[in-house]
Every structure is written in structure tokens, then in C-alpha cells.
């Protein structure tokens, strides 16, 4: 079952990877590094790990990056690495949101593939620029909407596509958290600081940080495109600069409807991402905290509990699975699947090739779709909660 070590990949060597952001004290950088390691497809060899030069150097040393490849800025890194014969083939961008676009641009223009955290940028305009640049450069560009890497999410998507649910009528997506219930950004939490700061996060707070994840997942599984939305964004915590709760009505092209709720002040929820999809013939339910399970009901039949490695697993789940059923995989493995799928595309690109439809990772276009969602939600909310096209 394990995908690691398949012949063709090892034969061509690990992909040389750089990283922007993710220095000491960061959270998501470490996640990206583990994700890149799990299937042994990448080797981290360069970094501009912090905007503070001293911390950048120290962080690089911690990670075993050679001194001469520990850069003080991404601009420097893009330039230097592009010039090396053994320069990085791909870069992971794991900075706060406002740095995504400039960094991505620099590396694309230097001919380097990009794996970028979400949301893609801080504005739709930036995102569109990136889409154009990816098209122009032909580079691989993956956005780490990591939840699409979970095996049972792959299966859910495949089941919807195969018609197991009939015509989709309803999508209920939610992502409640509680870590910003109080004003953590005023108590020294770095994570809270930048995520509630419009300068670094963009116009959306909760909507950009987690609402966009829920939306991406809804799109991914349902295969639908959103037509319009009606959003109510709220800031519950006094003094906070961005929304910390998001309630949205959804209208999908083709007639499906739904709701999306994301919150950072819902006490009792850690990372409660949940997706429910209902069609004329069946319904699905999946929860991120228990990701190895997928509930499926065919109308008029008993409810089934499908498991990642069990009798009801589809090939689409099995191909991104490493251990037998009943042995849980988690967040890092799902994240690793995005990295490994991107690796397949990057390897294919080495020879000027591309990958088949079975290889799935969120693209720059998906990132743009996410940015349009954020902007439409902010616009709808500001306009008094009116229907707004995305």
C-alpha cells in the first residue's frame, strides 16, 4: 500500500526543495517539512526562513541547510538558486499571506516550481496575476489546501463524481475553532497576531484562514462551482480588526444550495472542519478530526461507515493511503499527499511531461477560486448581506 520507494521516483532522485518562511517559532513551516519528508520525495536544501536575517540563519542551521544556502530574503534566494546547477527545483512558501504573491512571483520567474500555503494571496488581483504567470511559465504550482489530501475526501469526491449521491442538492460545510475566543492577539500569540492583522492576512480573518478551507473542500468533493453567496461576517471579540465568525448562504451553479459556517470563537471546537453533501440518491458526512471515516447513506438503505483501509474503500482512497485500515492516518499524511502529488507533477515536468487526472493537487486556479470567495464574502457582508456573485 505504501507509495514510498516506488522505483521510478527513487531512480530520479529527491526533488531539491527550498522554503520561504517557516523559521523558528513558526507553525506551518514544520508541517510542510514533515509533509515533504513522509514519502521521501523532497530534500530541503535552501531557505529564506525568516524576514529577520539572524533568525533566518539560525533556523537554517537547525534544519541542516548549508550556510551558503541560508538566505536573508526570498529575492536573493530565487536569484542565487536559479543560478546554481544544483539549485532548488521547487520552493515551499509558508509565510503570512501578504508575502505569498511576491515570493511566488519571484520563484516562478526564476523557473522554479511553487508549493504555496493558502490563501493564495491577499487580493483577487494578485491571484489573477499568479494564474497568468503560471500559465506563462508552465511551472507546477500547488496550493496547500491540505484537506483535499485526506484519503476519504478523495473517495468522497470520487463517489460524487460516480453518481453515488445522484444530483447534489445540499452542501453543509463548517469549520469551527475556539482559539480566538479571547483576544489572543493581544497576549503575545504570534499566530493570532498575524492572522488578525489585515496587513498580513488580507481583508478576511476567519473567512480567509479557515472559511476558505471549508469552501475549497466543498468545491473539491462536490465538483460544483459556486454561483453566488450571501455572507454575514462578524467580529465578536472587541478590538479585533478582522472577522472571527462567518455565516454564509450558498447557491451553486446547477441549483444546489447550502451553508458555510466558520468560526474562531466557538468554544469546544479545536479544528472542527466538517463537510456534508446530500443528493437525490445519497448523503455523505466527513469530519477532519476523525478523518479515516466516511459516513455514507444510500437513500432507503442503512447507513454505512466507510473506513480508509476497509472493505468500502475506493481506489481513489487507496492510492493515497500508507497503512492498513484501523491504523489511523492523520493531518500530516493528508498534507504529505499534496506534496507527493505535486512531486509527481514536478518529476513529470523534468521531462517536459504532465501527469494524469488521477494525480490531484490544488492548483493556482483553485487558489484564485478561494480568493474570489473571500472577496465576495467580504463584499456581501459589507453591503448588508446581499447575494453576491463570486
Amino acid at each position: 500500500m505504501a507509495i514510498e520507494g516506488s522505483k521510478e521516483e527513487a531512480a530520479s532522485g529527491r526533488i531539491r526543495l527550498g522554503m520561504v518562511g517557516g523559521g523558528q517559532g513558526a507553525f506551518i513551516g514544520a508541517v510542510h517539512r514533515i509533509a515533504a519528508r513522509i514519502d521521501d520525495q523532497y530534500e530541503l536544501v535552501a531557505g529564506a526562513l525568516s524576514s529577520e536575517p539572524a533568525r533566518a540563519k539560525a533556523s537554517a542551521k537547525d534544519l541542516g541547510i548549508a550556510d551558503d544556502r541560508a538566505y536573508g530574503s526570498f529575492e536573493e534566494m530565487a536569484k542565487a538558486e536559479a543560478a546554481r546547477p544544483d539549485g532548488i527545483e521547487a520552493v515551499a512558501i509558508v509565510t503570512p499571506n501578504h508575502m505569498h504573491a511576491p515570493a511566488a512571483k519571484a520563484f516562478l520567474e526564476a523557473g522554479i516550481h511553487v508549493i504555496c500555503d493558502k490563501p493564495l494571496t491577499t487580493t483577487v488581483a494578485e491571484a489573477e496575476e499568479l494564474v497568468a504567470l503560471v500559465k506563462k511559465t508552465g511551472k507546477v504550482f500547488a496550493v496547500t489546501h491540505n484537506y483535499t489530501g485526506y484519503p476519504m475526501i478523495r473517495q468522497a469526491r470520487a463517489m460524487v463524481a460516480a453518481g453515488e449521491l445522484g444530483t447534489i442538492r445540499l452542501i453543509q460545510a463548517e469549520y469551527p475553532q475556539d482559539w480566538l475566543t479571547e483576544r489572543a492577539e493581544a497576549s503575545g500569540s504570534k499566530q493570532a497576531e498575524w492572522r488578525t492583522d489585515p496587513k498580513r492576512s488580507g481583508a478576511g480573518g476567519c473567512i480567509g484562514d479557515i472559511g476558505t478551507h471549508a469552501y475549497n473542500l466543498a468545491c473539491f468533493v462536490s465538483g460544483l462551482e459556486l454561483d453566488e453567496l450571501l455572507a454575514q461576517l462578524t467580529t465578536f471579540v472587541e478590538g479585533r480588526l478582522l472577522d472571527d465568525d462567518v455565516e454564509i448562504l450558498l447557491r451553486w451553479k446547477g441549483g444546489a444550495k447550502g451553508m458555510l459556517w466558520a468560526s474562531q470563537v466557538a468554544v469546544g471546537h479545536e479544528n472542527g472542519l466538517k463537510l456534508r453533501v446530500y443528493g437525490t440518491k445519497g448523503g455523505l458526512e466527513w469530519t477532519q478530526a476523525d478523518p479515516n471515516y466516511l459516513w455514507f447513506t444510500k437513500f432507503g438503505e442503512p447507513k454505512q461507515l466507510l473506513t480508509r483501509g476497509g472493505a468500502g474503500a475506493w481506489p481513489e482512497a487507496a492510492r493515497v493511503t500508507r497503512v492498513p485500515g484501523g491504523h489511523p492516518e492523520g493531518y500530516l499524511e493528508g498534507f504529505a499527499n499534496i506534496y507527493t502529488e505535486a512531486a509527481r507533477a514536478i518529476r513529470a515536468a523534468r521531462d517536459g511531461g504532465t501527469v494524469g487526472a488521477d494525480v490531484i493537487y490544488p492548483s493556482v486556479e483553485d487558489g484564485l477560486v478561494g480568493m474570489k470567495f473571500i472577496e465576495a464574502a467580504v463584499k456581501s457582508s459589507n453591503a448588508g448581506n446581499v447575494w453576491t456573485k463570486v
Copy 2:
């Protein structure tokens, strides 16, 4: 723990009860009868059980009602029973919605207490008339928003009132079902027929049948009053005359927000009523299918699973509980609690008294609140999903 058989109640004898509706083939009538029996507070002695005289008689015989108290119409019953020295003291109205108001009116005017199924009426105007009539007659009037009878819902309400959650910020209420996923009303289902028929149900389908339950529960537990709502009502099944899916944004007086979803086409849900309430200090979650549990999280502390009869049970739960923790109580016991609370009020009324604040049953005013909710939702939806005061 069992409340049955307490001295003062038995001393005064069972309450003589009549029933309107609930004849052969009905569903909710049998539920009301069991609920009335569980704590031995009532004796069913009269009925106008069907609008078809033959069926009314046959149904009465089945239930051991004497022939001379098996009536062909509620008007006849109200008149005859009021004239008997041993006439009914209370009537249970369990007809389709459109009959609630006329029947309730007849019995109130005849000086008979009323226990009425929900929604209270088919229009706000009728509901207001009933409120006025109850005020004028001074009779006990209970509406069977039965979910408020569940012990852990009583506890949830008490916890919110005691400030355990701090200031309430968010309420997420949902009630998904799937029994109307296909056009059951065209395939001989009596239950589906009248519930999708505007003549018998009123202007709301799903919103009136179950949306109103979810809303009532949200009000009951939170203690909040709704300010305005923005609703999207949908009819997914072709040919259906009323809504079968309801999505609503909520704004509560005082600043809390929330969402309400009710659906009759969400495949995989039987009676998935769920309520989640979040405040500045804590969060609660309760699900009707597993009603003996109440999840409670105090911000910054581990999540607790409170059980109906366990160490974390509050007196408000204990007083409506019959069996020890770990022995589940269910729908009928919750329903019975409404009947028994109403019985306490009816007994008190025998002597011209009233009951204390600990005795809780949904009142005619609560029924009116429900009707205003239905009408506002229909109005908001028809107006293009705009904020509408309730």
C-alpha cells in the same frame, strides 16, 4: 427519582382528558397518549378522534373510550363534555395544523384546558387570537414543543441562565431529516400528504413542521429573543407544494448570531435535531438522537460529557428524570415531561392556583413566537432573502 405516584397528585385523582384527532392511522396521537400515561397523571375518557364519524367511533372503541363520549366533531365534544359533571378537564389537540385554532378555541371557550400540538396554528393572526383567549379564560394552554422536555435540554437552559457559557454569541440549530427525499406525498403516505399540503399545514412546510422545533429549542435554551432573520426556503422535490429545505441566518436581540437549517431531503438523517450554543466562556452541544448526553466545554478546560443521571447532572435535569444514569430515556419520556408539567399546572388551577417557575411547558405565547418565526421566514424568502423582523 421517579416523579410518578407523588402523594399530592394521586390524592386528587387523574386528570380527565379528551383528544381531538389521533384516530386510527395517525402517528402523533399515539405519542400523546403514551406521554399522558407515563406518569399516570391523565385518564383518556373522551375523543373526537377523526373527522370521519365511523373512524372516530372505531378509534374510540380501540382506546377503551365509552361510546357516549366518542364524538363525531370537536364542537360536539366541547359542548357535551362541558355539560357533564365528570366532563374532561383538558383536551389534547393532535390534528393537522389547520384544525388547531378552531378546536383550541372551542375548548377554551368551554372552560377546558388545552394541550395542543405544534405549530400552534396556520397563521399569526389565529395564534394571536388564541393568546388573547387564553388570557381571557385563564385556562392552561401547553404547546407540545416536546424537545423542551428532555432533561439535558432543561440542564442546558439552566446552565446558560446561570452564566456558565458567559454571554451568548452564537447559536447553531439544525433539524435534518430525509423522509421527503422523494415525493412520498404522491405515493400514499398520509403523513407526507398533509404535511406538504398548504391547506392543512399552512404557509410553511419544512419550516413549520421541524424548523419551528429547532427554533423553539434555540429560544428555550438560550433564553434569547430573536430580532430578525434572513431565510432561504427551497422546494427541491418537483411537484411539492411547500418548502422542503430551510436555511436561515439569525440575529438575536443583544447581539448573538446564528444559523438554522432544517431539511426533509438530507439523506442519512432520521430526526437529526441538534443544538449548539457558544458564549464567551463556554459551549454546549446536544443531539436529539442521543438525548441523554450534553457536551459542555468551559473555555480553556477539557470537554465534558454530561449525562442525564450522572455526576454532572443539574437539579433541573434530575427533576424530569425517571431512571438512573446510563439507562437511556427517550422521545416519549421527554414528551411525557411536557404532559406532566402541564398536569401540575392543571392541578394547581383546580384550586385557582398557579405553579412555580420550575414547572416548565411551552405556552401559547411560545406557540405565537413560533408562528411569527414561520411567517417571517416565508416572508423573507419570498422577498428575495432579506432581513425580516419577527
Copy 3:
């Protein structure tokens, strides 16, 4: 769905019921009374509710029993009621265990049907005497192994009988509680006092109080007979006179094996009765705290969550079900099913008839099987944990 009010039953009137035990302060008496009421098959008209005459009278008054039918002893009651033209047809015996046999004997000899709490007696010899007496008198005798009344337990039994699990290999039964973790019998708990007193409970503590329930359920669902057992009974709480923890290895006739664990000192469990049955083709799991669910896995297929009123419900579940799927039924409804099944047998007996195989209630023979289990377990444990035939 509701079974109440079916014509033939009402036509013949409620069954006149008496009760022995169950006076003020008792627990299980109230449960029996509610169970008897739920389907309106019985009317409680006489009682010897306490061994203390004053309390017996007061308790009877509380329950609306006429003064002249409030007896000071079961002997008196059996004699007087047998002599009345409107005397009781059946008696519910809800005393501590040591009174079951003498009371049951008195009523059987008076020609009165018996519904008796479990365990049947305090010795196998007494139980055998009762079996003989039931045979001789031809009276209906039901033992309230109430868990067999749960709809999904009925279904589990039917599924096993229909071969859905193939040949049974393994049975895992457990019933953990924690209410005797400390020495409650020394702190004024009446329930704890008699249940830990060998004079009133018999030779088994935990084994008799709840181990026997788990065993009965295992037999009921599997349809198997036990061959031998090997038991380790432990008293963890110092000063306690009877076992408070029970661990047993089981060998069933035909080759199946299994384990049974019951405990009164397992902190965190309220009434954690659970049964798991595994065969060559499938497996089942059921938990009393969540009784409306039955987990079923066919080997090589996805796990199914069968629900009491859902698409996977069998007729055997449906016939003892009152409300639709998703509306939970609980302990009292399961208990009521035993009463109602017994009522069917009692009504049939009025005309000298008997009931069909679909009518199921634990019989005096089942009670004897339970007593043999208790005695064998005590014997095995005392002999140093050796295999002992039941």
C-alpha cells in the same frame, strides 16, 4: 407503529395487576409501574408494597390503590385477591431477591400470573421449584430480564437466527458500572445495602445483579446454550460481603467461546451493558446506553449502522417499536415491551390459549438458567477458577 390501542386488547379490558415490593424509596418498583402503563395493558389495583405495614399503606395511597387492597404482606394479598371476583390477574414481584421465590410461589398457587424481577431466586433449588410450579399451574411467568425488550436486541437475535452472522464463534459480553466504587452500603444507600447483603441478594453480588443480565442477553441474542465457565469473582472494596467484579471465560455448546465481564467498580461507567457477537460471516455490536443503534458488519463489506426505525430495521424490531427512527426509545420502553409481551400471554391465557413464537418474554426457565449461571460462577471462583458446568 404504536402497538397501544389495538382493538382486540382494549376489548377485553386492562389486566388487573398487583405489586409486591416497590414502596416508597424503592427504585425498580416505579420502573415496573411505568413499564406496565406505557402500552395501557395493565391497571394497578392492589399491592403489598413494603414489609413495613405503615409504609405499605402509605405507598398504596400514593399510587391510588384502594385502602382495602393495600396489604401488609404478600401472603395476605395472594389469599385476599384470589378470593375477590375482581381480584388481580397478575402480580409484579419487585422485592429484593430473597423474597422472589416465596412470593412467586404464593401467587402461582393462588392461580395468579407472575411477573418477577431478576435474578429469579437466590438459589438454583428455589428456581427449580418455581419451574415445576409454573408447569403444574400453567400460569404465565415472566422474568424481567428487561434488556431483551430492546428492539435492536430483538433484531440482533433475529439476525443471528437467520444466519446473517454464519456460525457463531465468539461472544463478548460486559456490564461495567461504577456506583459501588466506594463502600456505598456503609453510607446509607438502601440500594447498595441489600444488593451487597448475601441474606437478601443470595450468593452473588455483582454476578447476580448485573452479570446475570449480561449472560441472559448473550444467550438471548446468540441462541446458544452455555456448556461451562471459568470464573474469577473479586471483592475490591474492603468490608464488602459480596463480589463487586466478575471475570468469566465462557464455552458454549457447539464450540463458541467468549468472555463476560461485569463490574460495579469500573469508574466512568454508568450502566455499560454491551454485547458483541462474532460469527464466520458477520459481527454485531450493541450498547445499552445507545440502544437504538446496532452495528453490523458482514465480513468483507462496510460496517452498517442499523437503527431502530431505519431502513435496516427488521420486523422483529419494528413490532416492539413505538416511534419513528431518529426519535430515541429507551430503558422504559424496552422494559414495557416485556410487560406488553407478557400481557399478550396473559390475555391469551384468559381463554385458555397461548401465544405464538413472535411473542417473547423471559420465562421462568430463563430465570433458572440465570440462577445456574450464578451458582456455577460462584462455585468456579471458589474452587480456584476452574471450568465448571452450568
Copy 4:
């Protein structure tokens, strides 16, 4: 939170690792490799990956191992690597059981640290020999009883040690699976073949493969030592050479009791390892399939659901945790924790040092304890299920 990249470790470079077994078609080898990579503590540089030379070479190539370090036998590898200046510092032994002892011996004698799969050997005698050899050589020796690497298991152990449960009374351990429900070893399953073959597995089938895991976990969390056991081992599937079901009564030193059940024929279970521990003051429950949760009940207080990264997490859990609460970690992360703890010991050994008590990995002594358990269980079962000292 992420432990990867801590300065002192990176400064000293990755540990050079070899592997015995784990070639193409194997399962557990890939797991070990991922586990070794997750925290970037190891680099796989040599291997004797298969007993078939051609497959050994091909497998090495797949994994990017240099040709001259792809060995045909472990003997050759131990010798050659010991002679290289850049030779492996540690070896992972992931063969069928019968090869563990000879391979471990060879590498220990060559001065190389060992990480060995479980069960340690096929006999107690071999295990004792290894214990002596480890003592003599002073090498690090870790046995991958990987479940001890789960964060909430670390916490459970810490809570017991801190007295949160009071004096331990009861331990219930179980590990049901269903993959050997039919005779998979006769249908071409390599995994089934060797695991049911006494020549490769030793005297125990189910008891050695998974019973020993459950037992190890019970010891690890409770901190108790077993005194004696009484076992019933069964082979349900005709033609199978080893036990496929295990039922054991346990007596722990100090008076605690318990049961252990492991099965490979329990339909519906994938890898259902579950541990429950009960003391005089509290109880714990943990399930491998949902490893991020730990249920904890303090006697007389509400049940708590402790989560890996939540408010109730202890430092012992936090130090082996990589991602925030609500983002699930799984089997591979738990396995990686064993590897990383061993890495800490190996790094310390580089300088002749040792690690503190906070660094925990199953030792060769733990492996011996496991072997004694297997032998005692087989002996007890063969002797007719009698108490047997371990």
C-alpha cells in the same frame, strides 16, 4: 510544538540507518522507514532487505540505497558496515519473528544499535540472550511496541503514575481484528502466511502478533507487573497452525486484575486495540483507531474527553506531539515517536551519555517481558487453562 529541527540534533547530523527485511512486498518495513523519516533523525543508507538476493538488490535500488550497501544477508551487512568509517550507527530489523534474534545478535556484536520489530524473538531463551548481550555491549536497543508512542498513551501513563486514578484495580485490554476470519494464508496473502506459520512466528499466532501489543500497552500505562495469567487460546479457522483468538485472565502484582482479549476473527474490527484502566479514584479509556482522544473520569465527576493538543493535555503528551489539537495524528506519528526517542538515546550514546527518564522507548527488557507473556499464555492454554506465572 514540532520536535523536528531542534538545534542540538541537526548539529550532529542524521543517524545512519540500515534495515534488515522490508523489501518489496513487505508491509512493516515501509512503516519503519516513514517513521524514521518523519522527524528527520535518520538516513537510510544500507540494507539487507530480502533473503532473496535479487529482490534485496532491487528493493535497495527503489529506496535509493547505494549498490555497494545493498547486502544479500544481514551477516554480510553487519560485518561490512562495521568496517566502514561511514558505516551505519543503527539497524532496523523488520523481518518475520524468527530472524529477529540472529540479526539483532549480529549487529549488537558489531557494535551497532538496534531497533527491532516485535515480538522480540520466538522464544524466551533467545530473548534472555539478547538482554544479556545488550547489557554487555551497552548498545541502544528499542523494540517497536509502537503504540506506546501515541501521545495520549504517554499521558495515560503519566496520569496513572501521578495517582490520578488512585490504586489500580482493573485493566481491560483488547485487540480484535478480522483479517484472518477466513483462511487467508491459503489464498496467497504473504502477511497471513508467515504470521500463521510457527516456524517463522514462534509458538504464538494471535497472541504473539497482537496479544503482545495489548499486553505491552497495559504494562506501559499501568506501570504494573503481571504476576500470573490464565489463558484460553483457540484456533477457529480449520487448518490454521496457530491460535487466532486469545482470551486471558490477568492477575497483576499488588492485587489488580483484568482481562485481555485478542482476536483475528472478530468480524467488524480492523485494528481495534483498546485499553481501559480503572482505579480507586478514576478510570481511563483509549482506542487506537481514535488515538487523539483519552476518556478520563474522576470518580464522582463528569467524564472528560481529553484531546492530544487540548486544554487537558499533559506535558508528556505535548512533547511527542507535532500539530495542534483537532488536527489528528495517527499510527505513523506514534511509530515515529519511538524512532525519535531511540534517536535521542543513540545521539546521547555517541558521546557516551544516556538520556533522561522523559525519553521513553520500549527496551529489550520490555521485549523479554513480552516473550514471557507469550510463553506463559501458550503454556497455560496447553495445560488446560490454569494459572501460570510469567
